[in-house]
Amino acid sequence: MAGLATGLRRVGTLRDGAAGRAGEVVFGSRRPPIGLLSLGVLAAVAAALPAIYLVVVVAGEASSAWETISDSRTLGLTLRTLALTAAVTSTAIAIGLPLAWLTTRTDLPARRIWATLTALPLVIPSYIGAYLLVSALGPTGLAADALGVDRLPSIYGFFGAWLTLSLFTYPLVLLSVRAALVRLDPQLEDAARSMGRSRRETFSSVILPQLAPAIGAGALLVALYVISDFGAVSIMRFDSFTREIYLTWQSSFDRTGAAALGLLLVLLSLALLAAYSWVRGSFNYHRSGPGTARPSAIVPLGRWRRPALAFCGFVTLIALVLPVGVLIYWAVQGIGEIDGRALASHAGNSLAAAGGAAAVAALLAVVIAILAVRFPGPLTRVVERLGFAGYALPGIVVALALVFFGTRVALPLYQTLAMLVFALTIHYLPLAVGAVSSSLLQVPPRIEEAARGMGRRPLNVFRTVTTPLVAGGIAAGAALVFLHALKELPATLLLAPIGFETLAIDIWRQTTLGFFEASAIPSLLLLVVAAPPLWWLTGRGEPSA
């Protein structure tokens, strides 16, 4: 995540100074090795399969597709979705940015604990989060009971969708900005301070501009998450794009209409991507020479300590303690009916699917990142952009596309674990690409060049020199994919082998039946499985850890 910021502004960085030109020397020419390139193109095509599927379906019945798109309702739908996206994204920044600063640069007590606690809501799936919020803050929820009132104002609609998505996506901004803050060169701040700027001025004139790409990258992920989310908007009954796609397709089996809306959604996300790279282009902060790697000075909070703690506490309370508390409350009620064996097997299956996707995505991300970072050019840029196609689409579209291709092209693989892993991989690939790219960027091509100068072959150089240096980025990418794949629902439902039950499927089944006691335990287990990689992710790059 962190990586996305730096990952996406790589070109300017690399071209700067001798190190950049060295990039061309490493592999002897600007042309990537054919093996690497074909692997990258293959990965990009795979990632673009869902979009290709949509084009195939829409092209099949172009006039009926156009009818859907030109329908006046579609415009309203687009505007509603954009309004929600804008509201959630700005809220996520408003929460994530201060938290990132507090947990990296200040003497906030128990910083490391807060860092993990405030990132943890990321692993609460939006469908669980929305349900928990309704049960806690709904018209006759727990809060109404606690306050002793008959009913609270309705939480449904825009407000509920905004609240849910903001609470469970702000960690995307938090993680991105945190990583950037940790990497920032303290020299600039020191210079500003020594020239008499106050801390506040330094923050707004030196630190904040440098953080812009990271904020943008986090915001981009939040925005993409919002436009492709289905769980929260359907429970909160907010008519967004994904809900409309789902309803169109499920109520009338109107494949063309749903696909046309899906294509619009892809265009929307491409527009977001374009807007992001345009914004990013206007910020170009990097060092031309090597800097120092010493940690930044810690800002004493002084009298702001209490408000800061209150802020962290409040966010943790409503985004983590409240939902998890409700979960535990239910879990205790349902504890007698646990089927331990089934639960263990579901957890094992979740690990297998998410772990597999994480491993494959990390490998493909390395390929794509090398191509994009070391061999920038039109073709590799297309490869990288295509990699995003699967992330912007709702899981259900990805799943249906793979049902379509699976039964026509790869029948022996259909409804196997391999197919499920493949689906999860292409769905979340960009998360890994971002992380790997950014750490690859921090490896000066000079090092590779030196190894090459000693007669090593390019692939050998990459294996023995570069890989160990970017291992952290690869692992971060894998961890992010793992966390997302763990809670993915629609693709898992449609593509898992028959009888292959995961925690997410279990949770979905129990909640559709209204058995919240029974769904609470797998939900908690999901959080437990997700916590260690998240702990590791939040600690990554921590100056004093």
Binding site: L247, P290, I396, L400, G472, A475, F500, T512
Partner: protein
């Protein structure tokens, strides 16, 4: 950027940590894969029967699992079941086309079955199966049959509403006395089937007026029937339009004091009977077994099981309905053919235009 960091011990420690994390993830994957593999192997070793048919089930596992167990014991074969919601499963079968692994589609509503039938994906059922089920509960073309039936009802909270206050027709829920007190699930197939039936019998205008009236009356929308029922129980709303067995289920689980009761409105299709049913896929190469499966679902032990467990109406002749619901023949059900209420697309459009969806 930050060049020296990569050679610092801290960075390398992190890198090693990262590499270890990947190794652990891969190892976990392999272990889990082996684990689930050996589970399957163990199951197969214990039951040396040949592999049976594959059923795509829009009905949930706790409900039809025991019925399938009965069938497996009877034919001594395993059945593979893929669970999901009816409509997504139907759409999945449509995507899968001729290569669908499914032999039987067991749907929660006639609409999904109708969609597959319309696309020519269901095989004609033998007469001996069709004979079992009254014509109004099966397809005209004889490609699917209903297995159990359910009635639309008005569910209400007896603490908030007297039974005598309830209207004889759902159409009256647009009155000012019901403003903000009613819940429904417009995205649910059962409500959509009701709207389709209303359009077919009373005409497009009546249906439109009703929907617009409901929306204008601040009717609360929910994602499905269960949350509507729960909202009635919690007092969030006073009445709701759902199916009869949701209430029966909750009462049998939570006791007779569960604060939701059932009213069968006699007018305007208020107690419309819809079915859960099944068909055999044209693409299946095990059609005979598929037919046998459906026949078995209509046999006495299975029909009795459904009556007992989910309080649904048995559709095969000679089976007693659940004791605690109004018998099928006493429900003022309209003589409407379920095959005729397949125009979901028109209904969806109407729901959207009226703002219900």
């Amino acid at each position: 950027m930050n060049t020296p960091r990569i050679t610092s011990p801290r960075f390398q420690r992190r890198a090693r940590l990262g590499a270890t994390a990947i190794a652990v993830a891969v190892a976990a994957l392999l272990l889990a894969a082996c684990g689930s593999g050996s589970d399957e192997g163990g199951g197969e070793a214990g039951e040396p029967e040949t592999e049976g048919i594959t059923v795509y089930s829009g009905r949930i596992a706790p409900l039809i699992g025991p019925a399938i167990d009965l069938y497996e014991a009877d034919v001594d074969r395993d059945v593979q079941v893929r669970f999901g919601d009816s409509a997504p499963l139907a759409a999945t079968i449509l995507e899968e086309g001729d290569n669908s692994p499914a032999d039987v589609f067991y749907a929660q509503d006639a609409g999904s079955l109708g969609a597959l039938e319309d696309q020519g994906m269901l095989a004609p059922l033998p007469k001996r199966i069709l004979r079992e089920v009254p014509p109004r509960f099966r397809s005209d073309d004889g490609r699917w049959v209903g297995i159990t039936g359910r009635s639309r009802i008005i569910a209400y909270n007896p603490d908030a509403v007297e039974a005598s206050e309830l209207p004889d027709s759902p159409l009256e829920l647009t009155g000012p006395e019901w403003e903000g007190r009613v819940g429904w699930a417009p995205s649910n197939a059962s409500l959509q089937a009701y709207v389709t039936a209303l359009r077919a019998t009373e005409g497009e205008e009546v249906a439109r007026e009703w929907l617009e009236g409901m929306v204008a009356n601040s009717t609360q929308s929910y994602a499905s029937n269960v949350p509507v029922r729960d909202a009635i129980a919690s007092g969030e709303i006073d009445v709701g339009l759902i199916n009869h067995y949701y209430v029966a289920e909750a009462k049998s689980e939570q006791g007779p004091d569960y604060p939701v009761d059932v009213f069968f409105p006699p007018d305007d299709l208020g107690s419309l009977i819809n079915v859960a049913g099944a068909g055999v896929l044209e693409s299946s190469d095990r059609k005979q077994e598929g037919f046998e499966f459906i026949r078995f679902m209509l046999s006495e032990p299975v029909q009795d099981y459904f009556v007992e467990s989910s309080r649904e109406y048995p559709l095969a002749p000679g089976i007693d309905p659940p004791a605690d619901v109004v018998p099928l023949n006493q429900i003022p059900a309209p003589e409407i053919d379920l095959s005729e209420i397949s125009d979901l697309e028109g209904t969806l459009q109407l729901l959207q235009e009226s703002g219900a969806l």
